[in-house]
């Protein structure tokens, strides 16, 4: 993305555009509406690299036969508080929203539920699925195997691991929900791509080369290794999340992970899981949510380091950006806007 002319698009207009693109690719209307809702929610929430930015690539995969528009999402195995879904090679958004619904249904009686999925695809930003249980006064957790390996094991140089993100969402009463959404690497690969598009150098600490030297030129990122947070700790988190979201579900992890940008025809067998935890199984939800407000206030009112204007909580910027963009529209950088115009022309749908 460059910083050239940026247009703004209303959220509803964006949803309509996304749905239209999928509809002409023969996606059933319900699925297209769900995709539009979730992809636009990524953009509205400020996760610009995970929303409509991905549309051309999804369409390319669908047209190449690499992703199903009408997946048969089925239950492979089930217990009262668990399920494993086969995603039917559908978009991760459809698979994981189904998984979150099933987890909520089970947690309503069991108190907690863990639903994994195999044969899914990229699902956009992690927070979308962690947030789903909030509306039922539940806590949500979501973990995914990232869609391409850019990290080696700690001390190594083979790209065997991904940014394997985690998101956890906890409801509050008067404050925004606490929503953590983080990669296990210092920088997500999308930030590297953005730096490359902008012609900027990267700070030291994002990547090293295969000799262990800092790599700050994003044009050389193909030779680089993303660094985990906390060194061996972030490596450990990525490994554990990969085993839980990938291997346990019979999904790809390690050298089996397919870079979904590299080959639009290849099945990725992406794995994820979502946990719903019913607050009422532990505490009165209203009381708990007020206590979360209290913790929120404690953090916000902490004394600050010199030069720090404000203390933020995870989820605070997400809430503010969502409110602002739902009201005023979503900025679309020129390069992305041009790619989407070209896509619209290819598909024979209206530009947004």
């Amino acid at each position: 993305m460059n910083n050239g002319v940026t247009r703004k698009v209303e959220a509803d207009r964006l949803r309509h555009f996304i749905a239209s693109a999928f509809l002409v690719c023969h996606m059933p209307p319900d699925n297209a509406a769900k995709m539009a809702e979730l992809m636009a929610a990524a953009d509205v929430g400020g996760q610009d690299g995970h929303g409509v930015f991905r549309l051309p690539q999804y369409i390319k995969r669908i047209q190449a036969g690499g992703m199903s528009v009408d997946p048969d999402i089925s239950v492979v195995s089930e217990r009262t508080a668990t399920a494993l879904l086969h995603g039917g090679n559908g978009p991760g958004h459809l698979v994981m929203s189904r998984a979150a619904e099933l987890a909520m249904e089970k947690a309503k009686t069991c108190g907690v539920a863990w639903v994994g999925a195999r044969h899914s695809n990229h699902a956009g930003p992690a927070f979308l699925y962690a947030q789903m249980p909030l509306k039922q006064d539940m806590i949500g957790l979501y973990v995914a195997v990232g869609s391409a390996n850019h990290m080696p094991p700690w001390g190594g140089t083979d790209l065997l691991l991904s940014t394997n993100p985690i998101s956890v969402a906890i409801p509050s009463n008067t404050q925004p929900a606490v929503v953590l959404d983080m990669a296990t690497t210092v920088a997500a690969y999308g930030k590297v791509k953005t730096a490359a598009d902008r012609g900027e150098t990267m700070p030291e600490g994002w990547m090293i080369d295969k000799l262990g030297q800092p790599l700050t030129d994003p044009a050389r990122a193909g030779d680089g290794l993303l660094l985990p947070i906390g060194g061996p700790k972030g490596y450990g988190l990525s490994l554990i999340f990969g085993l839980l979201a990938g291997t346990l579900n019979g999904a790809a992890f390690g050298k089996d992970v397919v870079d979904f940008n590299a080959d639009p025809k290849a099945t990725t067998n992406t794995g994820h899981f979502v946990i719903a935890l019913d607050i009422a199984a532990f505490a009165d939800p209203k009381t708990f949510k007020s206590q979360v407000d209290g913790i929120w206030g404690e953090m916000k009112s902490s004394d600050r380091l010199p030069g720090v204007a404000e203390i933020r909580l995870p989820g605070e910027r997400l809430a503010a950006t969502t409110a602002e963009r739902e009201a005023n529209g979503i900025p679309v950088p020129e390069a992305l806007g041009n790619r989407l115009d070209a896509l619209a022309d290819d598909l024979g749908i209206d530009r947004f």
Copy 2:
């Protein structure tokens, strides 16, 4: 700990010593045996700051009336896959081993279970509880609110957060289990204390002072702030873990956390939770464990950065240290040995 004369003690001898100390403090024999087993497992596993090192402090709390030797551990609320325990102000070891057993029992039918606890105490190293489900071919997760606040929110200076550790244990077939056990801070506070005992300076990146400057003199740690891994990410993890292990369970979090070293009489209301996940609900356990072996092999055989002799997996050193120390005994540094001798004399039990 200094690096002076180090004695070695056999694991069985250490267990006997720990149990004897609790017995003379009127702890019921079953409880004393369980404490000895778990505390020695910390030492045997190489977590020297979380085993017998803590015994004098636990005894002090018991003698001051700050911790119960015969806690009434009761179920506050329960669903088929969840429970909340009241720990009766007993040692965390007793409370969380009960929690892990209950979680395994529930997961056997439900597939997964999440058991939290309030009114507990320090429980030693996190891996002890994450590992418990392994013997039933289950995956274990454990999270605790740390026992003293040494970290501010990101950008702040008020000590509102702890190292809030997470441990996850995943069984394998022929390799050691994958066991992650990590704090959300770059360095655990115990490492700061060890540096102080040794008169060493700390590396930059462990702590800063309240002006945001690197703090490398461990004697000044009382004025220092531990840094989270990955900056705001580690802060976010600590916050989320505190809400889940503390607030949700009705246990202390934030400013309510009592430094359990500061006042032996004060009730800490420590919170933790443990999750047991039954592998058989998702996959054939034997196949899964072989796949974990496969991932283990992939990581180990990665090409390495210059100067790196070996790639390690989380849990590898734990397994090696456990085997070595069970066979050859546990090294006890002179200063700790002297403290334990003094404790033995005070209690009228045999020195080890």
